[in-house]
Symmetry: C2
Subunit: 206 residues, 2 copies
């Protein structure tokens, strides 16, 4: 693309570095900002700058937080012996929305992925293992995505805390609520038969 202005070209380039935003979309977004009052652009750039410079992570669960201990970790009503291991803040938000979990979280910040150069030392696994060694954790729930990377990460953590007497579990995988069997993929359906649960237990959940 040939731009008539270096300023415009630069703004479009920086915008197009965001994931899923190509040059055309970036141009559309930048032209939109140009049509809006100046304050809108200032508010956007200030919000991004402030976030990047002042962001804090909870010292206990590594979730994004404005204070040292996030709201969830600081809440005395939550069960600190039950830890749900998740990848990032979006998973925390998704699980919190269900209102079904009363324990604390541990945010890894990613998954082990040799393909993308992410090793255990890039994640907060060390801090999780330390917490485990302090003896406060009774159960660890793995809630990572059901992929090769997720499984690898689960297994790595499992090996690290092996022998500490901590119960481990993963969230249930199976047919989604409201889904019809005939449209489910074979792997999921197969696993849901292997990992079937007692009918009486399923009644309780409803």
């Amino acid at each position: 693309m040939d731009f008539s202005s270096k300023l415009l070209e630069n703004a479009v380039y920086e915008m197009s570095q965001l994931p899923g935003i190509g040059k055309r979309t970036a141009l559309r977004l930048v032209l939109h900002l140009l049509k809006q009052p100046k304050e809108r652009t200032s508010r956007l750039s200030c919000a991004l700058e402030n976030l990047r410079s002042d962001i804090k992570f909870c010292t206990n669960c590594h979730n994004i937080s404005d204070v040292e201990l996030c709201e969830i970790c600081a809440n005395p009503k939550r069960d600190e012996t039950l830890i749900c291991v998740v990848e990032d803040i979006r998973d925390v938000m998704a699980i919190e929305n269900t209102s079904q979990f009363k324990g604390l979280y541990h945010v890894l910040g990613g998954k082990i992925s040799p393909m993308e150069g992410v090793g255990p030392q890039d994640l907060t696994i060390g801090s999780l293992v330390n917490k485990a060694k302090e003896g406060k954790i009774k159960e660890l729930i793995f809630a990572l995505s059901y992929t090769m990377e997720g499984d690898t990460t689960n297994f790595y953590i499992y090996k690290q805390i092996d022998g500490l007497g901590i119960n481990t579990s993963t969230i249930a995988r199976g047919i989604a609520v409201g889904d019809e069997l005939e449209y489910a993929d074979e792997v999921t359906l197969g696993r849901s038969i292997l990992n079937r649960i007692p009918f009486e237990g399923s009644l309780k959940a409803n």
Copy 2:
């Protein structure tokens, strides 16, 4: 969505004000920036701020430009008696890419759209009419999109310059190069028959 951080919430909110970016996408983009080095965020916010504060528009054609007279208007090889009327800079870029046009542009900055509250006074139509009255323009090519708003704008400008002895034309509408007739929509196909061109003329274009 419940955010654990006001800073994060604010950044996501501002990002989600961009067209076509919802809250989830905004969160994904913001989390991506958090994973990148600080400089990336600074570069993005600086580029947007600089663009918004220092942007200039060409005094002749109203295209975005870093200098008073844009490259196209300042080029003595371009035919200043031939003016192509377009909506915004993206159309200029698209037509420039074809290398088929040797005249100058006039960027309206939008189309007349009563539904969106855009009237003739919000566009650069006045400046175009002034240019026309100076008597330098021989032909005006309307290259607005083929919609109600585009047609309205064409007609409004046509009425304003009526009697000044300026030739007007619109870009050709018809079957796209490489398209098969059976898949063309009826209106386009109908118009392409009504607006047929001499076969000898079509040979020249190839």
